[in-house]
Symmetry: C2
Subunit: 236 residues, 2 copies
DNA sequence: TTTAAGCGGAGACGCAATCTCCGTTTCGTG
DNA sequence: CACGAAACGGAGATTGCGTCTCCGCTTAAA
């Protein structure tokens, strides 16, 4: 107990200034992870990330307790960009243009980032990290949908979570085709279907699911119930 | 060479009638595999299949050289049903109704069978087995699309392979949502977008891909080039 | 110079799936 | 019924792969 070892001389150990390379390497790792996960998806190994950063795996594990922790930090960024994209949609006074731009912009983000795509497709992963932004994303989407209906440009039987499902479909197109722009073709098709028009008489199926459908894949645009406080996913 | 061992006495070994349980078990295995892959996807283990059949793994491996061989046999069945579904579409004189029914029926098959869904989503797997049916499926789809355009009910800038991509999107909806019927909602949306209508002025993006787009995921409805004779995929 | 913070990366570890091996059981036959 | 070949069962050998640890070496700060 009283041994004057590495811990502290007597009361306070005078803290040595942290080495500069520490933060430099941390930044390198984050940048590398961003690129590697963007290009190869979230199942790239931490060895890949470290090598791409010009560092050893050991270093990676000194900076992040495990792979998931690293991912979490990036996912947060990703969702921030999604949030921004949906906000742009809200700010447009032409609700249809806003809705379109919103869908397009989010789809663009996805198409360019395989990691984000995987998060969107398997939204379970997003639970821990994206959480901070999801509530705002949901609000933005709700707003755009609501206003588009008010302006009479969006068919009335569309629900906000439909947009989440649509993003999943577009993600699937990119994922499977490898064509980074092919999704635009099907978004056009879907938009033509979404647009309010007198010639459409049959309502969409599935309104029996209710307003807030608990579709596992659709919840990344906002948690289904406001009081769910992160039910501790497996995580690692 | 001349050793009178287990092979045959002199000229012909009198063949003993094969044991009855052999074929019975083979059938059991196929049935079990169908169910297991339908419910749990193609990555279920052969141990799972064998147990579900009430047999040991060893037996499974005596009947099928490896897991892929077993899958191949089933995939062939699956594609046969897809072929049938598309044929129904062709036989309807109302091309729009045929097109709709075709899409619906194939989507239904997918929604009920996770194995098929995986084959459709990752069409690479289908290369060895579905091959026999794919050419006919392609012909059926081409025909329905062509006739629907002739009848003026389908927008002119739609290509046959669009339907393959659409199936992938629907598969993704089922896969991620877990809702076995949710795809109907988005098929409706897409059909509204596919329908020819005077109010649509902008053509679909992506016509620059040409008539026979080499979209990896879209080729399960028919090989891109007729002369490609199975480029020997990894397979195992 | 000294010293501890930080690095590198080989390899231990864990896990999961495929497939083999051989003792045991079952079926067909005389 | 008795016999032998055919078929079975399932423990575990094998393989593959990704995560994370450990410790000798390097380097920044004092």
């Amino acid at each position: 107990m009283a041994a004057p070892s590495a811990f502290g001389e007597a009361g306070e150990a005078r803290a040595r200034r942290p080495r500069r390379d520490r933060e430099v390497n941390r930044t390198k790792l984050l940048a590398a992870a961003r690129e590697v996960f963007r290009d190869h998806g979230l199942k790239a190994t931490l060895d890949d990330v470290a090598r791409h950063a010009g560092l050893g795996v050991g270093t990676a594990y000194r900076h992040f307790p495990n792979k998931q922790a690293l991912i979490d930090e990036l996912v947060d960024d990703m969702f921030a960009r999604v949030e921004e994209a949906t906000r742009e949609g809200v700010e447009d006074s032409d609700a249809w243009r806003g809705l379109t731009a919103s869908l397009e912009h989010v789809a663009e983000l996805q198409a360019l980032d395989r990691g984000l795509r995987e998060v969107v497709l398997h939204s379970d992963r997003a639970v821990p990290a994206g959480l901070r932004h999801r509530e705002q994303i949901r609000r933005n989407v709700d707003l755009v949908v609501e206003r588009a209906k008010e302006q009479g440009v969006l068919r009335a039987d569309v629900e906000p979570w439909d947009l989440a499902v649509i993003q999943q479909m577009l993600a699937a197109v990119t994922e499977r085709s490898g064509q980074p722009d092919l999704w635009r073709r099907y978004l056009r098709l879907l938009l033509d279907g979404l647009r309010a028009g007198p010639e459409r008489t049959e309502p969409l199926p599935g309104r029996d699911y209710g307003k807030r459908l608990d579709v596992p894949g659709a919840n990344w645009m906002g948690p289904p119930s406001p009081s769910t406080d992160v039910p501790a996913p497996p995580h690692g």
